[in-house]
Amino acid sequence: MLPGVVPFGMTAGIAAVEAGLEPALGLAMSVIIFAGASQLVVAQLIGEGALPLIVVLTALLINLRMVMYSASLAPHLGHLPLRWTAPLSYLLTDQAYAISITRFTYGRTHGPKQFFYIGAAFPIWAVWLIATAFGVWLGAAIPASWQVGFALPLVFLVLLVPVLRDRPSIIAALVGGGVAILAHEAPYHLGLTIGGLSGVASGVIAEMALKRRGENR
């Protein structure tokens, strides 16, 4: 898992510098937001001069999935006191969630579950910070003709394939991507949001339609 975090974090650092952000701001994003996908999009939107409100809404839409992860971890970690749950929540990422929930659901953990979770989540945090710092430093040195901005969709492709688990999620992705392409000239850089929401709606509709077809058979 960690080898994947390094290029992803570097891309986030490079993107921040490419967008014209101060190096300190690029690093601060990794500490304060600590969610790669949204950091990349925030950098891109700020670079394009989007309105602050749109940047915030888009980033929060991207990070909405954390609610789902958090709720799904609740049966395993929710009984802990606040001094545990607050830092555990801060460290929640796609990768930490995937590792922990697989182990909690199908495997056995030796000792308290929060220790297993931290063992997965903390190294990701540390590597993420170092990788973004390196990316921020590197971003200033790379010439524009290399088109390193293209690394952004490439990194997201890696995240996309594993979430295409069934037909409704494939439909959600096709509609989300298609609508976002059509809406890329939408005002206020709302294309991503419009695409994302259409995709979610299509996924839900497809799931209900498939279920109904199954019941009729």
Partner: protein, 107 residues
């Protein structure tokens, strides 16, 4: 965007993201979450990630649109094919950036 606005934007996103991460663990277990919300949340990753990737490939480069001059379309397809079979970030970055540079150099 001024630097102070950028700091504020990042602080608000950070606070909101923490609230998302914290809400489930603290306030509801998976069982008590409303079913329609859970169902919709399941499709957020697929829909949102696709909505980031697709326009960045089609409209992100110096020659945007569905055009044979748009090198990113071809490099993106090659990278997608690699991503379908491998989950290695390094491999996909190498395939995508490599084919982009190679096609640009060849033309």
């Amino acid at each position: 965007m001024s630097e102070s606005t950028a700091w504020l934007v990042i602080a608000v996103i950070g606070a909101g993201t923490f609230a998302f991460r914290f809400s489930g663990i603290r306030f509801f277990g998976a069982r008590s979450m409303p079913e329609p919300l859970l169902r919709a949340l399941r499709y957020v990753p697929a829909a949102v990630i696709a909505a980031i990737v697709a326009p960045a490939i089609v409209h992100g480069g110096p020659d945007p649109g569905f055009d044979t001059d748009n090198v990113r379309l071809f490099a993106g397809l090659i990278a997608a094919a690699v991503a379908w079979t491998s989950r290695s970030v390094l491999l996909i970055l190498a395939a995508g950036m490599g084919s982009l540079w190679l096609i640009e150099w060849a033309l």
